[in-house]
Amino acid sequence: MKKSSRVMVIIMAAGMVLLGLSTAGFAASVIKIGYTAPFTGSAAEFGVNGWRGIQLALEEINKKGVMVAGKKHTIEIKRYDSICTPTDGVANVRKLAMQDKVVAILGDHCSSVCVAIAPLCDQFKIPGLTIECAADKVTKPGHEFYFRMRPSVGLMAPLFTPTIVKKFKPKSAAFLVVNDDYGLGLASAISKELDKFGVKTVLTDHFERGNTDFMVYLAKIKKAKADVAFYVGVVPEGAMILKQAREMGLTESAKLIGSEEMGEMELVSLAGAEATEGTYAVSLWGSVPGDFSKRVTKRFNAPMHYAIIFAYDALHTVTRAIELAQSLDPVKIKDAMKKVDYQGLEGHIKFEDFEGYRNQCKFVPAIIKWEGGSRVPLK
């Protein structure tokens, strides 16, 4: 199989070159890039927002065209639904690699799927770039052909915890996290870092995804008298937590710090500026240019979401790699991915190998404060 796919790649590359020579400089030809993401099921919001970001990037790229070996190309995205399940994600990647013959694969959004598809990228020798999987093991120990831009759960905590300790000087911390790999992983990573500064974790509680009633959890946190309370989940849960925390006066006694999603504008639109006032959030992006936000609003009539930014950066990153490689050979594109050095909306994108991680970017997440319904990045 490996042999046959290698042969296939060579034939494909040869075919491309021939095609390129015969029609050089004329009509644009198409570069196919795959995208696997959840478009249905409980994680559909990530796929839907990611697809928005990709569409925005695609418009920009195709307007200009991608010059490869002196010839103008346009990009075509093949996208399939993974429903956030590993078996479907693998079917998608196999289809993208074998039927659609894409040169690179974007996705997935769910860690469980990323873990399943990363080895396939090695097997098919096609570069893959996850949009937002957070689990450490996606890039640690990692795969030659699989890349990640965002810092993983284990990387994030050491990066932002000192800021929190310096800023709030807390003595005790409480965690209210969603019961999945992301919530549990992040809570234990932060807790471990806080421990190094002598900050005690007094309470860790988890709730099921889709939970809407947090009064009791919040009452327990208030009783434990924690100085900082971390809450980890997605925006609808976070909005409910903030509303109910305000209702019982928890926001006065503790500093509330939310996970990534709680730094999204959507939080304000759901919870209201009043409920978010004076709370904090860890955010992977500090601020985006105003006209990008405007484009999102104008085009989709939707608030900004990090999946939009991540997916937008992801397609630009891969396009950058194709331009650097000056080839449509996936292996060459993979090599070029390692040379990409690009300032994305979310941060500085440069894939490195370090501390057991492979093909991983390293940028410092921001901490933002909600003031009057807008994000104010902390220094």
Binding site: T40, C84, A91, V115, A116, N179, D180, L184
Partner: protein, 310 residues
């Protein structure tokens, strides 16, 4: 008619054997999933099609077998060839324990209870983190150990392995339902009180049908675990149980062939619709209702009608 059937069977078998040589690895992968689902629906048919009670927890046994086999090989270093029968037997025994009380219930009571049992098992897979690693997924499961010099780490070898097990399982089920025991099961489906009156130990026969069906799903789970080498609770959530029920009913239960064809057809249709991610399940649900309107007995019913049957 019999010879026509035999010829059709032969053609299908040859076609199945040829798939890895004529199709891409994507098609082979989908074919493996289709065969696994065929095994699940065929074993499901023993309980629901032949014995009668409608069950919604087949994926729970599938998952139980998968996790048992994976954990046995991971924690004790046991060989796959030993873990496979052990997980089958374990799930069979588990089926006895669950089936004995549950099968005292009749009709939709039983159906809804199994529905909950399926959900409960999913919660166990999700939350027994020390064993299953919960939402992180259980990875690093070894492929089946090589025997006779065949290395089972490749997709093609796995395809043949699972195909052979599929044929064996269907053969076993075929022999079972055509045996005296099979006729006993059907007699219970047709009239449980009458069967009881003539001295059939209906509870025992039903519990056996339930447990054998569960045990076969467990073996399928073991095959899946060592083929996919990564287990995640969502693979065994209630959605999968529903899918098994739908596949079996679309094919037409109580025929053994129907559910197998149903699994193939449904897998194929869902794969065909990958191009329309958001609409996939909408089209699918409408198609399902359309099939029900045309012929409630499923594809087997349509075939019977074409052949001028009932």
């Amino acid at each position: 008619m019999l010879s026509v059937n035999r010829i059709a069977l032969g053609i299908i078998l040859i076609f199945l054997l040829l798939i890895p040589h004529i199709a891409s690895s994507y098609v082979v992968y989908v074919a493996v999933l289709a065969i696994l689902f065929s095994m699940l629906t065929a074993s499901y048919d023993l309980l629901t099609g032949y014995a009668g009670p409608l069950s919604f927890c087949h994926a729970a046994f599938y998952g139980f077998g998968a996790y048992t086999s994976a954990l046995l090989t991971l924690k004790t270093g046991m060989s796959f060839w030993l873990a496979l029968p052990i997980s089958g037997i374990a799930v069979f025994l588990f089926g006895v324990v669950v089936g004995y009380p549950a099968l005292r219930l009749r009709g939709h009571y039983f159906a809804v209870t199994t529905f909950f049992f399926g959900h409960f098992m999913y919660l166990v897979f999700l939350n027994a983190r020390d064993l299953t690693r919960g939402p992180l997924g259980l990875g690093g499961i070894p492929p089946p150990d090589s025997i006779f010099g065949i290395d089972f780490s490749s997709l093609t070898a796995n395809y043949y392995l699972i195909l052979i097990f599929g044929i064996l399982m269907v053969g076993f089920l075929y022999a079972l339902v055509n045996s005296g025991y099979g006729r006993l099961i059907v007699s219970i489906r047709e009239n449980e009180d009458l069967a009881e009156a003539v001295g059939v130990n209906t509870a025992f026969v039903k519990v056996m049908a339930f447990s054998i069906s569960a045990g076969l799903a467990g073996i399928t789970g073991s095959l899946f675990a060592h083929f996919f080498r990564l287990l995640h609770p969502t693979t065994f959530a209630w959605m999968t149980s529903e899918m098994i029920v739908v596949m079996a009913l679309v094919g037409g239960i109580g025929t053994l062939v129907g559910p197998i064809i149903g699994a193939g057809v449904v897998t194929f249709i869902l794969e065909m619709m990958r191009f329309a991610p958001e609409l996939r399940f909408i089209i699918w649900a409408i198609l399902l209702i359309a099939i029900l309107i045309i012929e409630p007995r499923g594809l087997a019913g349509i075939f019977a009608r074409i052949r001028g049957g009932i």
